[in-house]
Amino acid sequence: MKILGALLLIAATTTLGARSASRLYRRERKLRQMYKFIDSLCEEIRLTRAELPDALERTGGSKMLSDGVWTDTYGLNVGDIRVLDSFLSALGKTDIEGQINNARLHKSALLERINEATEEKKKFSKLYLSLGFLCGMFAVVLII
């Protein structure tokens, strides 16, 4: 019984650590998705001058919106969401130069965040996993 309890405790803390690590992976993946979305939408607008609904359809942005990719903010921090909100708030409201500049500005902001997310992932993902496991072990030792 004791062994089962100990195993369960270790599994629980390890899962917590894994969840924290997965947030880091998820943040990086979402930021890259955002960057790609802005980049392809901007290119579509620049080349075809297509209206926003058409441009979103052609670049797969509509599907992302309907799938709730941007409303599911799990993994992202407040600053990340602010970058996306700021990009979307200026989308379609200016001439072509304005749109290109809007995309450029937010792409460079995203690039910084992607680099930061990659670093964080490298640094902390393994740490969170190990910490989760070790915390479980420590608790088991204390209890026993």
Binding site: L52, P53, L91, K93, T94, D95, I96, G98
Partner: protein
């Protein structure tokens, strides 16, 4: 293309408006809806309609009056939202139109835009005037009956229905009479092309050139589309008349319109006088008021 009733035309022009305003206008009495020519929105000013040439104000209860009584006030934010809806949230896609001060709407309506002019277009939109497109099938019957082997000039004061007659003439010549027609639609008032599709019925055998000046448009149409008839709105310069004369030498007939208040002005204005003298047109259709009688002058 199915002909729409005047009520349907009015209702189809409401889509860019804020929802609250749309609701009130959709609830107007059908006889008022039928007669509305324009919907005027100005920042922080009352919503105004032009009905039968006269200004009318709409109140919050959905009534109309000749004086503003508890009118609907359009906020600057509502005006901006209307502008974005007109552009389908894609200002960059309508820059050329905006620079000229208008946006072509779905359904062939046109929205005039006013604001601070900047090189990129217009910013801080301060007023929008939605002009309800009219399509009166058969209004050009009498004109076409007089069209010979030369062109026709449709002349009249603003609001007399010149473009409506021109559009019907194009539709009939292209559809019923199977002529190849090229329309030079600089301001989108004849065919109202939106995303490559004419929003107004201009017949099956019509090619529409937009986004170019009339003179260049006539030249391009004659060179590339081999039309039998070239139609365009508001001949305004001697250079355009010269191009028309050249196109006639290519065997092309011309239908155009001109702002003329009275018959005497036809011979006094340089543009119309030169057009008449050149022998390019065989007939002038002189209009006085919208839906009024047409006076034909053989030249």
């Amino acid at each position: 293309m199915m002909e729409k009733s005047k009520n349907e035309r009015f209702l189809s022009a409401l889509y860019p408006l804020p929802q609250s305003v749309r609701g009130v206008l959709a609830g107007l009495r059908p006889e008022v809806q039928k007669s509305v020519q324009e919907i005027r929105l100005r920042a922080e000013k009352p919503l105004m309609l032009t009905v039968g040439g006269a200004p009318m104000w709409v109140n919050l209860q959905g009534g109309v009056s000749y004086m503003p009584q508890s009118p609907i006030i359009i906020t600057a934010k509502q005006l901006e939202d209307t502008f974005l809806n007109l552009c389908n949230h894609s200002v960059y896609s309508h820059t050329e139109e905006i620079k000229q001060g208008f946006i072509i709407m779905h359904g062939g309506h046109r929205a005039g835009i006013c604001g601070t002019s900047v090189p990129e277009g217009i910013r801080d939109v301060s007023s929008i005037n939605i002009r309800i497109a009219r399509e009166i099938t058969g209004c050009a019957d009498s004109l076409l009956g007089r069209m010979g082997d030369r062109g026709v000039l449709i002349a009249g004061p603003p609001g007399s229905g010149k473009t409506t007659i021109l559009r019907d003439a194009v539709r009939q010549l292209s559809g019923v009479r199977r002529q190849r027609v090229a329309v030079i639609d600089c301001r989108g008032e004849i065919a109202a092309v939106r995303l490559a599709v004419p929003q107004n019925d201009v017949g099956e055998n019509t090619d529409v050139i937009t986004g170019i000046g009339k003179r260049e448009g006539i030249e391009m149409a004659v060179r590339t589309m081999c039309p039998q008839i070239v139609a365009f709105d508001e001949i305004g310069s001697v250079a355009e008349v010269d191009e028309v004369i050249r196109s006639l030498h290519s065997g092309v007939r011309v239908i155009t319109t001109a702002h003329v208040g009275r018959e005497e002005e036809l011979y006094r204005r340089e543009v119309t006088a030169k057009l008449i003298d050149s022998g390019v047109i065989s007939c002038v259709a002189l209009l006085s008021t919208a839906g009024g009688e047409i006076k034909f002058i053989e030249v």
